[in-house]
Chain length 125, copies 4
């Protein structure tokens, strides 16, 4: 796996796992790879994976069973969606709307650009 420089590796891995849970690549209630295993797979130090897992655990997405490993929680997909939605509406949207106002961009103009982006992106898949 390759990493960007803008966010910590641990958080990028946590995001990546969330994504995999959302699209079903990792199943609800299944065991996820052990710390050491995933560390080896991703070419990263086990401590880094520990921090990823700690982050996910603090968000109630995974849980630990002593001496056995980490498991995906029952409502993990719901939890992830709620968490992302609240981040979107409370953090990203206000900044975005502020920019629109400053730059004098109308909602119609925005809609046009977004649908252009979406159609382009869907054709690639």
């Amino acid at each position: 796996m390759e990493f960007k420089n803008s966010k910590s590796i641990a958080l990028q891995i946590a995001d990546n796992l969330s994504e995999r849970i959302l699209n079903g690549a990792i199943e609800i209630e299944s065991k996820i790879p052990s710390v050491r295993e995933l560390a080896a797979e991703m070419g990263v130090n086990p401590n880094t994976i520990m921090r990823s897992y700690a982050e996910l655990q603090s968000r109630n997405i995974i849980s630990n069973q002593r001496g056995i490993g980490y498991f995906v929680n029952e409502d993990a997909d719901k939890t992830i969606r709620e968490w992302r939605k609240s981040e979107f509406f409370e953090l990203q949207l206000p900044q975005f709307a502020h920019q629109m106002q400053l730059l004098d961009i109308s909602f119609d103009e925005l809609e046009k650009h977004i649908s252009k982006y979406l159609s382009k992106h869907n054709n690639e898949n």
Copy 2:
């Protein structure tokens, strides 16, 4: 002035100055405060202001006249708007559209939230 922890203070100050130029609080072609002056006013290390001014200068928003100080360029407001527009359409909008798609947010929902934000923000001014 209070600072967030997600962005460097120098860049936050540069943004703040840009905004003040856009809304006319700082006039075109006027002299802006000296590094030391602004540093004192903002309770920040002069080195930090230096980096803010360097950032603005590299974007052709202000210019330095040796021994006199920094001045706002003639087309500063236009430059700022162009710079922000390109950032908006090339960086922020794609991320935003991607999030919308992932979270399955409709245009109607988006418009509702944005207009709510705008009306709230306009009442405050």
Copy 3:
């Protein structure tokens, strides 16, 4: 059975068995389930049950008859009570009193909370 993460599973099971002996769910001098049986019932590794039984045996609460199984000792209930009382007065109570002092909690406030707990817990049975 569900387990907390703060204490080892083996000790939690030992506590659970003690509790069941105290309230009569497991009778004095009766045979308790075999290691494998209890392990299956609790969804736990047999090694873990082994450690629970070893703990109880070291406290003279159960005894092993080779090839037959583990049996509850004659004075098990008395032994458990004594063990818990000494733990209570020598370990838990001092910490508890120390906390009360630190947090400036009065006896009246304490009594109120304890009786609330007791009445709630009695209604459930």
Copy 4:
């Protein structure tokens, strides 16, 4: 500083700092020692102190100012007291009351033991 084995060193240091804030040894809104400084003072690795500070920051007891250091929050003492009280009443007290019930200890008996403990402890100071 010497450490017990029952709790992680990082958490023991966080508790220690909380205590020092409560009793005024560390003042509200003051800067606390830098990570490296405290690490040297306590004979511990800087990473360990980092975890202590992260814990305190997540509890809104201290805050970070970029490139300068950590500072004690305005209401830190209040926050610490509230946090400890909620832990006391929600975690420790129920376990304690449960033990009292099992061991058939009356509130009068409890009060007697606690006041004995307190008087003994106060004479020592």
